[in-house]
Symmetry: D2
Subunit: 199 residues, 4 copies
């Protein structure tokens, strides 16, 4: 059964309204159309410690999150935009995933090879393409495959300060992109179930 994990890298804890959560729920709804269930995790609610080992100890909650990533076929990486960059919470996740480069499966492949990653980026203005670039490069580096047109995003007009949560309805091109991202991710994940990369 193909499964997805969505990471919400908002800076806002608990159930504070999150635009990133909104777009992740929209992508999850599209994945559900393909019979893929998605768990959404708000990373800032976990104590993900600084460091680049698999377990930093002292109450580090990364190992639990890592187990969820390893158990999923598709990673939906969601982040808000701060000063034009992915959030510090998102970069923390990237740093922790860096340890996976040293982890290999029984056939010698890095443990994340064979998994699919897509991204979802929101912000008041400007930044989604750059964040998508940084995420694709780092997620691909540690082993994820990026399906065709594997990013969805929204931001408002420059210097105007709107918020994805404030929109009355999802703009049609964003909705269409959400659907494409989901369809492409599922197609690729199911190909890998049948035929993984060579060892």
């Amino acid at each position: 059964m193909t499964s997805a994990l969505a990471l919400n890298c908002t800076l806002k804890p608990g159930d504070a309204p999150s635009s990133t959560d909104k777009i992740l729920r929209e992508v999850a709804a599209q994945l559900a159309q393909h019979d893929v269930m998605t768990e959404i995790v708000r990373v800032v609610d976990l104590a993900v410690h600084p460091g680049v080992d698999t377990d930093m100890g002292g109450g580090d909650e990364w190992p639990g999150l890592r187990a969820k990533i390893l158990a999923s076929d598709i990673l939906v990486f969601g982040t808000p935009t701060w000063v034009g960059h992915m959030s510090s919470v998102a970069q923390r996740v990237i740093e922790r995933l860096d340890a996976e480069l040293s982890e290999t499966d029984e056939e010698g492949r890095p443990i994340l090879v064979g998994k699919v990653a897509v991204v979802a980026v929101v912000g008041n203005e400007d930044g989604a393409h750059k964040i998508t670039a940084d995420l694709f490069q780092s997620l691909n580096d540690v082993g994820f495959t990026i399906p065709a047109q594997g990013a969805t995003y929204w931001n408002g007009e420059a210097m105007q300060g709107g918020d994805y949560n404030d929109l009355d309805e999802t703009p049609e091109p964003v909705a269409k992109t959400n659907a494409t991202v989901a369809a492409h991710a599922v197609h690729l994940a199911r190909l890998f179930e049948v035929s993984d990369y060579p060892a």
Copy 2:
């Protein structure tokens, strides 16, 4: 007399309408408030050859453009956004400026040190902060100083395809930013007229 040169790195030749031209004219008008005259050059109309020497020969028109840059106190670097990046014309200029690292004045300073650079970026959507980052890093590397809040920009809502030239009027926060960028650039350029960096 403090002077400015504005580079329009649009892909469109001749007098085709250019959103980058629009924002550069706005910044130039602000510079004029401080008695700084600005020449605007549309780079794509010149044969700026690929390479990283001061003169690539064979009809290379970079040397003439280079002379204008060296004769100015303030560089206003304007570029459109293509696929989230500065234009190929803009990157060509950066490559040619790279040669200036080897050129020094009579006191041993790289020849561009003591000049001020600001940037102006427009696009349909998303990209200005990333392009600003790439421009600040490369212009600073070859010697330009970047004044506080040295960037102005505009782009529209994600996936909607608007154009700066299509706006009925300049949005107020953009107009205010244009004014700040100009005032800061002039302040810094005039400080350097009195007191240049040490050799």
Copy 3:
């Protein structure tokens, strides 16, 4: 028969020595191990005009290059590093590929969806991860899929000025990465021959 096209986006025309050419030949040799033939094209030798249409006219040689891209299953995008960025020649190719977003096949898919892209970046120093990011984002945006660990690169120690062409032999981790990039690209391209993305 799975085929590859490698673009060398060096600034140096003709048969001037090119480090980018060296790494592309290495990747091509690895692709050949999987029975994939690679044509290498030095883009700066073609008159690829500025613009974002499929054919800019007036002697524009993009249409011929475009036909080669459309005829290949795998794109190996090679670029040198200039001032920390992909070359202006590389960005020119990205701009021209942007037109493909409007081109669809008979089933309504963007015409590049179903093709695989990998990248190869060289430089004296510093820049490969950033360029990889910018390339993955833009190539993925227009339709390419990025296989797991789809980038190879080399650059030397900071501020030292070495060149990939100057190395006596290919460093072992680079050689290993070249092999992985090729194997992953071929695996993915062959999956798409059997099962393309849904319309």
Copy 4:
């Protein structure tokens, strides 16, 4: 008396060896040549909470760090390179500085305008130019001025895994860059003591 604050954004707490600390001490030694004293702070040792307000409460230690930044004329922003990006600790600082855009002095200027920022980046390999770009853009956005050639950095050959702390001595071009960065930062900071940006 001109003063500097250096932020070490390493992921390693306490007195664990830090390459970022090494390069910051080198820059501080150069600043001392100009009679500028530098305090170095290891940010990861403080509880800098996620968020974009001046004080997030609940034990947030940002307000104390913020006071140090506001009391200094020069900010030396030091970060290691992780997966090609600035550290999550560095991005956290950028997010917190974003609140300063709303803070103005008695003449209506953003409170950081008139301060100078330079950056120092180290890593095993590849990334300094991109991180410099992201830092210049965000530090400039909130009000810092970037002096000519305002970045120093070191990283090793691609895929080889060296560390700045492992070097027997500082490479001569890095030492020279450290000296230039310090001299330029001090020159600019002292100009602003005499003549700040207009209100």
